[in-house]
Amino acid sequence: MTQHNRAIFQPSGQIQFGIFFQGVNSGTIWKASESGSQTDFESFRHIVQTAERGKFAAFFLGEGLRLREHLGRPHALDVVGRPDAQTMLAALAAVTTNIGLVATQNTTYNDPADLAHRLSSLDLISGGRAAWNVVTTDNAWTGANFRRGGYLDHADRYKHAEAFVETAKRIWDSWETSSGPARRVLHEGQHYTVDVSPRLPRSAQYRPVLFQAGDSPEGRDFAARQADVIFSAHPKFDDAVEFRRDIVARSVAAGRGANAVQIMPASEFILAATDQEAQEKKAWVRSLQIGPQQAIAYLEQFWGRELTEYDPDGPLPEIDPVVEETSETRGSGFHGAKARQLADQWRAEAKDKGFSIRQFVTSRTARVDATFTGSYTAVADHLAEFARVGAVDGFNISPWLIPTGLDDIVNHLVPELQERGVYPTEYRGTTLRENLGLETPVRSPERVGA
């Protein structure tokens, strides 16, 4: 391909699916009789094998580094507690053959040489199916579980993450051939020094695929430079088209091809035989995701105080938030003076829309923009439109039920998409890179060696 062609985005006309087994959230229903264990191996086996039956490209696991808290104690209401991503994926590699295995792993609370080695291990054990969903964290609250503590300034997190990813890539690039020799990899950075002789050869897919989810301008540039796939938050059609345009521009500016970075937004599917049944199912799903206690607890996170005396079916509390006790370490995102402003804004919005606490919280927490609700045929038609214009390369589905949450998607939606010619009927190969249609990385000499 000429340089000119590489700068012009070409839709593939296809979409693919990934599944994101988050493990910790309010989106996974645990109150229904169909809800299974979040930790038993059989739950993971069922869902990954269902995904593989449906020719899903990838199976994602989230990462936990500190247990979620609510008002200073572990959060009691939602699904919590999950296995280590790479350990679980190594086990799942033994019971699958084609699906990609994606571990969400933090750049702040891991060591680059160790993480690169473990990701290589997963890649080799799985025959070239490993991927790394790169995430960054910078707070001392998470750091309290680690020897380095909270050593990183928020402003430095992408700079740090990029140095980390570059070091990992150099480690993966270090073997000349599959039998060696390995070149020593050195990195001297602001926060640590790495001096390592890598132990592992390149895998069948050369090196693990990189996913990244940052959405800020810095995050998008980081992804455009480093990632193979962006796990975006833009699944609505117009928004997805605009995000694609932005990422194409950024990846071309970074010296990569217009198709070099794929996009798979996070999404939720609520499907049934007819649109009406799907709408009824959606109401049921939402009622189980945000029950009365969850609705109150959600407000408590922002109010920084107990609100149990309020009626979940009544209006938002008139009482003001306790601003001095809220803290970013809880991950709530709002603190200080902002909390009071936010409360005023929410009260006005709820009043305006005639929402109770529960209705208001449901409207804020449900993946409003990320949910595809409808009949199998209607949703298939809609997704085919995404494929036609190349708005996305696929969707990362967060199932609201474990372990059977993919069953209807695989049994009914996937065949509809296959009939429309927009979804794979077979895996293209045995590596994730092949199945995603990504190019094999070039071993760039300037990045190799000390």
Partner: protein, 354 residues
């Protein structure tokens, strides 16, 4: 321990370091069907060796009876990560996981993470701290912490989760650190994974003998091994003892001595000879030790001989205990159920409060 349990026989472990990632499934299945009770996975810094814990995890769903025990370093790794990874290994293996806690003393391991090298008694201090963090985190969820109570909307009972609030001791040689907790995964299926460590790391001023479930004992020669096992038992008391033995066997018409690679000296006793000779040695060792871990010279070659000639005869003689059937590694070691430190104290506090 062995003196009262001689009739039950001992167990045999096999080190699978020789199995690369491509032949791992075959090797672990062969070891299980041969009747080995335990497969161990060295964290060898050798080219081509993938992460030990992930090899063990991969073997989890493929096997049913064999315990899966990786080496995991305690000095240059994050205790919080190790604890979570090992708990996860217990989940994917149905309660057959263990941990050989090692203390890396190589300059390479230190350089890889940009830390200064840890040496001498400080190694055991690091190991002790990591084991303590791991154990506290495993206990940090009581067994019945996940309640899924629809009426109150509570998925977990917060009173059954505990901050571990670990801090390194005041005399800690390395950089001090703390770990907050609780774990991010519910208590492992076994409650506590059995922890094994080299006998040289365990004892007064080192890793406390109470912190481990078994020790690995080495001697320079096979002749000295039984005596060393007795010495360690006298020094450490009632902890399970696993004798370490390198094995080179006559095979495929080649004498063991001709297959011996004399350039390798790992400080372990090495048996070189026929299957019959090894049977005699293991028979007597298993009377002294609770188990023996075999390190084959060439995994494929020795495993075939062990499987065909050695294990059947040891079973016939009653030297080996029956393989685990859907059991836990704790059950194999005979260490009993793991009491949760927090639930005990919680119950005591509640009782005192009355």
């Amino acid at each position: 321990m062995s003196s009262t349990e001689e009739k039950a026989g001992g167990f045999l472990a096999i080190e699978l370091d020789g199995a690369g990632y491509e032949s791992l499934a075959r090797a672990v299945l062969a070891a299980e069907s041969a009747g080995f009770h335990v497969a161990t996975f060295a964290d060898a810094p050798a080219p081509g060796r993938v992460n030990a814990l992930q090899r063990a995890a991969y073997a989890g769903p493929l096997t049913r009876n064999i315990a899966l025990v990786p080496e995991v370093d305690t000095v240059y790794t994050e205790p919080f990560h190790i604890s979570t990874q090992l708990a996860s290994l217990d989940y994917v293996s149905g309660g057959r996981a263990g941990w050989i806690a090692t203390a890396a003393n190589s300059p390479e391991a230190a350089a890889a993470v940009g830390r200064s090298i840890v040496e001498g008694d400080a190694l055991a201090q690091e190991a002790a701290a990591s084991i303590e963090v791991g154990r506290r985190l495993w206990d940090s969820w009581e067994d019945d912490a996940v309640i899924r109570d629809v009426a109150t909307g509570r998925y977990i009972d917060v009173d059954k989760l505990h901050y571990v609030d670990f801090e390194t001791p005041a005399d800690f040689a390395g950089p001090a650190y703390s770990v907050k907790g609780p774990s991010i995964i519910p208590r492992p299926l076994q409650g506590q994974l059995p922890v094994l460590a080299a006998a040289s790391l365990v004892g007064d001023g080192l890793v406390s003998v109470d912190a481990v479930d078994a020790v690995l004992v080495s001697a320079p020669t096979p002749e000295l091994l039984a005596a060393e096992v007795r010495d360690v038992r006298a020094r450490l008391g009632a902890v399970a003892i696993v004798a370490e033995l390198d094995v080179v066997l006559d095979s495929r018409g080649q004498a063991a001595a001709s297959r011996l690679d004399t350039s390798q000296d790992d400080g372990r006793a090495r048996f070189v000879g026929s299957a019959a000779g090894l049977i005699g040695l293991l028979d007597s060792l298993l009377k002294e030790a609770d188990g023996v871990r075999l390190h084959p010279a060439v995994l494929d070659v020795e495993l075939e001989e062990l499987s065909r000639l050695v294990l059947p005869e040891l079973r016939r003689r009653g030297s080996l205990r029956a393989p685990m059937q859907d059991g836990t590694f704790r059950e194999l070691l005979g260490v009993g159920p793991a009491e949760n430190r927090y639930s005990t104290s919680a119950a005591a506090t509640a009782a005192a409060g009355k």
